[in-house]
């Protein structure tokens, strides 16, 4: 992949995130979270800027960025739906629930719908294991998923 030089605007926004968090002990993860909050994902071009500000090598920053499941390499859809696929949810049929959701949205896990409305992801436990099967839509928790709730989710995504 060819590295695009960072645009001034991107560089400025990145620098603003960095300057706010730089004085923390071990600031790299908070900064990556901050950059993702700012742009919706972590643009490749921000990595050298972060590296330079923290006096790290690009390889180090890249290594950290790629280690964690949370950090996105590409923009996500307008909504992000995470469906729990861990054991407690499995015991309540999360497999079948995931299949219904995939069919309803027309996408699989780790995919974004063509209209950019939604990104679908598996997640391993939301701490809602006594309210299984569970999911999270844009940070909002949903328990005891069933066909009706899937319809509601689909509606919210479309609106």
């Amino acid at each position: 992949m060819v590295m695009q030089p960072a645009s001034t605007e991107l560089a400025e926004r990145t620098a603003a995130v960095i300057s706010e968090l730089k004085n923390l002990e071990g600031p790299l993860i908070p900064i990556l979270h901050g950059v993702q909050e700012e742009f919706g994902y972590v643009p490749q071009e921000t990595l050298p800027i972060i590296a330079e500000a923290l006096n790290l090598s690009r390889a180090e920053v890249h290594g950290v960025f790629t280690f964690y499941h949370d950090f996105r390499h590409h923009p996500a859809g307008r909504h992000v739906l995470k469906v729990c696929q861990a054991e407690a949810c499995q015991s309540m049929g999360s497999d079948a629930i995931a299949a219904q959701i995939k069919q309803k949205l027309g996408i699989g896990f780790h995919e974004t719908s063509k209209d950019g409305a939604v990104t679908l992801e598996p997640i391993y436990c939301l701490g809602l294991c006594a309210c299984a099967p569970a999911a999270m839509l844009d940070g909002e928790v949903i328990g005891r998923l069933d066909a009706d709730k899937i319809d509601e989710i689909a509606e919210e995504i479309r609106s």
Binding site: G26, I29, F67, S91, C129, A132, A134, V141
Partner: protein, 518 residues
Amino acid sequence: MSVTIYIPGDSGSLSLGAEKVAKAVEKEIAARGIDARIVRNGSRGLYWLEPMVEVRTEAGRVAYGPVSAKDVASLFDAGLTNGGQHKLSLGDPEKLPFVAKQTRLTFARCGITDPISLEDYEAHGGLAGLRKAVSMAPADIVKQVTESGLRGRGGAGFPTGIKWKTVLDTAADQKYIVCNADEGDSATFADRMIMEGDPFVLIEGMAIAGLATHATKGYVYIRSEYPHAIAVMDKAVKVARRAGVLGKSVLGSSQGFDIEIRSGAGAYVCGEETSLLNSLEGKRGVVRAKPPLPAIQGLFGKPTVINNVISLASVPIVMDKGAQYYKDFGMGRSRGTIPIQIAGNVKHGGLFEVAFGLTLGEIVDEIGGGTATGRPVKAVQVGGPLGAYFPRALFDTPFDYEEFAKRDGLIGHAGITVFDDSADMLKQARFAMEFCAIESCGKCTPCRIGSTRGVETLDKLKQNIEPEKQLALVTDLCNTMKFGSLCALGGFTPYPVMSAIHHFPEDFRPAAVAQAAE
């Protein structure tokens, strides 16, 4: 007189519609011109009754549940504000059998108080432990925690006081208290519940740990999957700082202690303590070899206490009521209480804090009430994704670290997932391997590669390709993983896999497999 109405702000309750209920209650209060105040409490942990709404009356609290937004108007019609009768009436919540049978020490206030009101916290016994600790010598605090018999609730069950003593005895210019709130195990939510429902008890426990070891800085590393817990902890830390519980002088003492909340980034392995420390330092969450112990060289190379949320949140009561009080609960070498989390396909799912020693059968059948689907219980997984699957035949196992170990299992963070008879144990074994492959930090070959081989092998077994050979291969792989892995992710994944094969051989038999594959 102003009425107080409690509507949980706990994630579990929110996931079942508590926010809509709160909005509806607000609307009714306004429309009816009632002098009432809404408190967003934590959950008492009876999730089949959530959202559980409570009202404080002259005769004590009265509960209703499970309440949905459409019930709210009729609740007010029925005289909710005076505890009036309604089809959702539950009466005095303390008298519900699921509540009455518990011994709530760590969770004494959870679901009862306003989580971010320090006044409420103190009115219900909060800060009493810390007040005692500030006037004690560090070694005496450590001694009291050691004598209580408290063992780490994060999974390994290491004595908390002994860990603290190592940190106290290691001289350094800076020491840290790190709270492990990564809670990645499926079926566990005790950490989440206490952080959302009674955050000050964790803050108090961490401050006591600071006083006991001369550590002045604390971090709470909370998994990013818990946005609500992060928000409540953030607020509570600010309140505690303003009140002088945290800061340059803890409750007016000569020692300072402050706390910072950090969010994880979606890596299960970061619950492993050394991986967590690397993550806090801004590195890849790769597991470190031990020694050096974190107690000697932990965060940024400094002596560090790293404890689970529940371990730390159990310290205030130990300091307040004494080591003996805590120790008198429990059995064998498992002292005190344990918040058991009953989850999955279960009728009465939730959090049940009780002294160690109940049998698995009592927990699943009596407390949990059997499956939610009403079908027979086939298996229960105890201790999260690295825990063994137990069949009914082992339901006489007492909930105790050593008793579970004797039966090739572990209690871990005390989560229990119930499965009914539709469960396919081959599929569960495959998932255990797959999860290990997804979450491996990559340092050890047996964990990183072995788990992927495990998935492939179980897939072949499923397709009935030389089944006996595949079974032998999986067993062999499990042995390699068990003995050749640096941490318990690779080392314990064999527990769910081998327990499934051992206790449910029918699901792995060629005939059954062939039939299932058709």
